[in-house]
Symmetry: C2
Subunit: 116 residues, 2 copies
């Protein structure tokens, strides 16, 4: 898959793909003519990148996830472990939001919410 198709399928720009390759978030194989060539699962990897970004990881951290995956003896289990870790973070984030929500809820309608 060339860069244009990957970009379209993953919903990012070509420049973003090149940028991601530069910072090590994407592996760079090449065709004989110099064009980048990506395997289909790169699309899924980019979706994972967006997910992790949503959870507040920096691209550098996400690149490390990728490196861990490549080094793991069992790739599938390693990724499952990463995902379980993301789920834990989601649960934490939801708990934070719930407490923030309760806090805001308590302030709404009080005489002066800013001072509460």
């Amino acid at each position: 898959m060339r860069i244009g198709e990957l970009a379209a399928q993953a919903g990012v720009s070509r420049d973003t793909v090149r940028f991601y390759e530069r910072i090590g978030l994407l592996e760079g194989r090449r065709q004989a003519n110099g064009y980048r060539d990506f395997p289909p699962e790169t699309v899924t990897w980019l979706h994972y990148v967006r997910t992790a970004q949503t959870l507040g990881f920096t691209l550098a951290e996400i690149a490390q996830h990728g490196a861990q995956l490549r080094d793991a003896p069992d790739g599938a289990e390693a990724l499952s472990a990463l995902l379980r870790d993301k789920i834990r973070i989601i649960d934490e984030r939801m708990a934070e939001l719930a407490s923030l929500r309760a806090d805001l809820d308590a302030r709404v309608g009080t005489g002066c919410p800013l001072r509460g």
Copy 2:
């Protein structure tokens, strides 16, 4: 309250306070000697700023919240409205996280989660 005390109570650096004043996130009253002088509720405002940042607002947007508050005929009601809006956003964010969690949950333990 001078800048040092505000910074300590709000958990930000003095430079951050000065930066926030520069971009209009904070009002700048001055003592006779030129020192900044903040009312106590600025601490609460800074906490609000952190909350809004957590929810993904940029500082420019948050500064607009502040401007809206100042312009509102009923300050307390205006802030309550802002808070209700934040609660709505929190609810949306939690729904997103829940669906993300379900998605990840489904992938964990499958043969190859990345390709799913």
